[in-house]
Every structure is written in C-alpha cells, then in structure tokens.
C-alpha cells in the first residue's frame, strides 16, 4: 500500500470512529449481521424475568422476538438492570432497549424513543360492582395503597376528604387487603393489578380511572431515523394485527387500552 493511500484510509477510518454511532446506520448493521441485540430486563416480571428453563421470558422478551421476527433477523437478548440499560445502549452494546422504559425529558436528551409498546400506569382498581369514574367518586369509600408509593402521594392530593385511604407497608399488604375485602378499591400500578389477576381471585381488580400514565417505549440511539421508523412501523402493525394485544393479554391479563 502506498503511503499516501494509507494515510487517507487511516484518516477516513479515524473520522468514522470519532463520529461514533452518529454516522453508523444501526438498521443496515442489523440487516448485514442478521442479528439484532436487544437489552431486556431479567428482574422485573412480568416484563422480564428468568423462566424455569433459565431463559428470559416476559412482555419485553416477546416484544424483542416479535421485532426480530418482523425484521427477519436473529434476536440476541442481553439482560440488563434498570440502572445500566441506557449505558448499554450508549456504548453500542445493544441496538434496542426493550426494558419497560418510560419516556421522560431527561432520558430524551440522551436517547430516542419509539412509540409506546406497553401500557404502564397507576390507577384506581376495583371489582365490577364498585363505580368510581373519577377522584370525586371515591368519597366515602376505602382505598388501599402502598405507603409512600406514587399512588399514595397522588391520591392523597386528589381524593375527597371523606375517602378512607388505608396505607399498607408493601404491595403484598395492599393486595391482601383488597382480596380479603378490607378495602373497596386499590390504587396501584397495572403490573400489580396484573399480578392480582394472575391469581384468579373472586374479586377482579378492573381499572376505574388513571392516576398517572407513563407507557413503556423502546429506546434506541439518537440519529437512527431508519431504525426508529422501522420499529415504529412494526409496533403500529402489531397493534393493528392484534399481535401486541396478544402479548398484553398473556403478560398483563388485560387488553391494551385504546390509548396509552
């Protein structure tokens, strides 16, 4: 190799490296390697946990496999924790983070988000025969919450003075109080409600109204418009075809809300 050519090559590859992921096209990379690397949780059921065969299972895992299937590539699952899921993406160890990630302004500064793929909200839940469409309807009713949780703080602000808010030590106390009929309603997350539903209790917690909505989105690196558009299309198609609803039914025990 002639010396000038070598310098030119070295310079151009350095420029590529320096620009980092900004110039790389993750989608092209995924298609050429026939592999997509996805960060999934392994300690956050029902979104991600380790199954009896030691393989990760959950809503997020099914979502990752769905995307892999639609792209026609192999899925490589990378287990992450909630603390390191964004660094894994930033250091390019994964292409996507499907790890029950909620959109917020701080995170949006460093990564991009797709459209929502999973509902994640806090709300007031109760059996069929109790009506409570809004906070005012809680007057005179007893509501169980986990002390210090977001639901507790929000409900304390919005519930009428005659609401009897019973604060339990942890989610299990709140669930037990609801199932044993010590409270009329519970204010909790949809994931906890799904855990109650999974036990197939005589009193089924149905959503009455939302307190705080922060649906999960898929995270990807900034400046990846091709991948972002592709994943958004897959999510939109999966919602239309009912595939996403099937995942929600399987892991959350409820249909997807009309909007989330």
């Amino acid at each position: 190799m002639k010396r000038r050519q070598f310098i030119a090559l070295a310079a151009s590859s350095f420029a590529l490296l320096a620009a980092g992921p900004a110039l790389a096209d993750a989608l092209a990379n995924i298609e050429s390697t026939k592999t997509i690397r996805v960060a999934v949780p392994q300690d956050f059921p029902p979104f991600g946990s380790v199954g009896s065969d030691m393989k990760p299972v959950g809503y997020d895992v099914d979502m990752a496999n769905l995307i892999g299937e639609k792209l026609g590539v192999k899925v490589e699952l990378v287990p992450v924790t909630s603390a390191n899921r964004i660094p894994y993406l930033q250091t390019n160890k994964v292409d996507l983070v499907i790890s029950s990630l909620g959109k917020n302004p701080d995170r949006e500064k460093v990564i991009d988000f797709t459209d929502a793929y999973a509902p994640f909200f806090n709300g007031v839940f109760g059996p069929d025969d109790v009506t409570a469409a809004k906070a005012e309807d809680l007057a005179g009713k007893s509501v169980g919450v986990t002390r210090g949780a977001v639901e507790d703080l929000e409900l304390t602000k919005i519930a009428p003075a005659t609401t009897d808010i019973k604060r339990y030590e942890d989610n299990n106390g709140t669930i037990s109080a609801f199932l044993s009929g010590q409270v009329d309603l519970v204010a909790t997350g949809n994931v906890v409600a799904a855990a109650i539903l999974a036990r197939n209790p005589p009193k089924k917690p149905e959503i009455k109204f939302l307190i705080k909505n922060s649906p999960c989105s898929i995270g990807l690196n900034k400046n990846e418009p091709a991948l972002l558009e592709k994943v958004n299309t897959i999510i939109a198609d999966a919602r239309k075809s009912g595939e996403l609803n099937a995942i929600a039914q399987k892991w959350l025990g409820a249909d997807l809300p009309a909007e989330f």
Partner: protein
Amino acid sequence: MTYSFDFSWIGEYLPVLLKGVGITVELILVGAFFGVALGTLCAWIRALGPLWLRPVVGAYVEMIRNTPFLIQLFFIFFGLPSLGFRMSELQAANLAMIVNLGAYSCEIIRAGIQATPRGQFEAGASLAMSPIQTFWHVVLIPSLQRIWPALSSQIVIVMLGSAAVSQIAAEDLTFAANFIQSRNFRAFEAYLVSTVIYLFLAIVLRQLLRGAGALLFAKRRAAQ
C-alpha cells in the same frame, strides 16, 4: 457528626402524631384491661377450673405463646375474612392484643395462684366464704400482688409490641412515624420523635400500673 437535624415538620404533622398517640393509648388501655381479664379467667381454669376445660385453655396459651404476634395479627386481619369474620384494622388490632396478652398474663397469674398455700383455701372455707369470695379475696388478690411486677412488665411489652399493628394500616404511633418519613424523608427525626413518645408512654404506663397496684393492695398491706 455532620447530620443536620430538621424538626420544622413537627407543626405540619402534629395532627398525625397526636392521632397516632391516641390510637396507641386506646389500644393499650383496651388491650390491658380485657387482656388481663381474659388472662385471669384462663388462669383460674388452668389452676382450679373444670378438668375438661384445662387442656383447651392450655392449647390456646401454648399456641399464642409460641407464634409471632405479627402472624396472629395477620391471621385475624387478612385470614379470618375468608371465613366471613371481617373486622376493621382497629378491631383486629384490639383483638390481637387481647388474645396475646390473655395468654401471657394467664401463665403469670397462674404462677401466682399456684404459689398460694393450700391452707389459705381451707382458711377461707372455714370462715364460711363462698368459693367465689375465697377465690377473689384469699387467692386472686394476694396472687396478683405477688406477680404484679411481672404482669406490669408484660403489659408494657404488649404496648411496645403494638407497633406491629401499623402493618395492617392501623394508624398508631408507629404508623404516624412511618407515614411522616415516607412524606418528608426525615427518617431519623421521625423515628427519634416516636421513640421519645414511646419511652414517655412506657414510663407513664409503669407509674400508672404501680399506682394501681398500690391502690389494689393497700388494704392488704394495711392489714399486714
């Protein structure tokens, strides 16, 4: 130590604290009165009562004394509703404390009764006292005097154990401390304040029990 204390929240949360103190005091008053009454009845049965009833009371005492208070509380509050006995968290807390103190005080009082010399029963009978009179004046009161310090301690222990009722959302003093620290994150101060209040309550309770003892046994002491 670089920790900077902040007690500015006390004004804001004073109603919560006062309510907590009120409920703790209510729990211990009801619990101590009915608990000792239940314990006395059980002690009489175990020491002097009908033979067929003794194993029943024995089973109750052993069951309560060998299981954690928290489990008894959960059993009453979360378990019994499945059988159709639903009660509020305060009723459940009161019941758990009565049942718990009943078992412990039964054994303490029984020890006092069984330490009563046989001759005293016969002395009572020979003075033409009815069995109930004999039990009350000749057996129970002297027995209680003998075991009063142990019984007082047990009542204080049960009062301190009442902190567990915050687990079923009964809004006692411990609940108040937990509630406050979950809102303002001043855990050190919240538990410091509740510790001081518990200490104060325990000291007052001990003095009250000592006073009650002096009143109850005054005649006897004068006669001695």
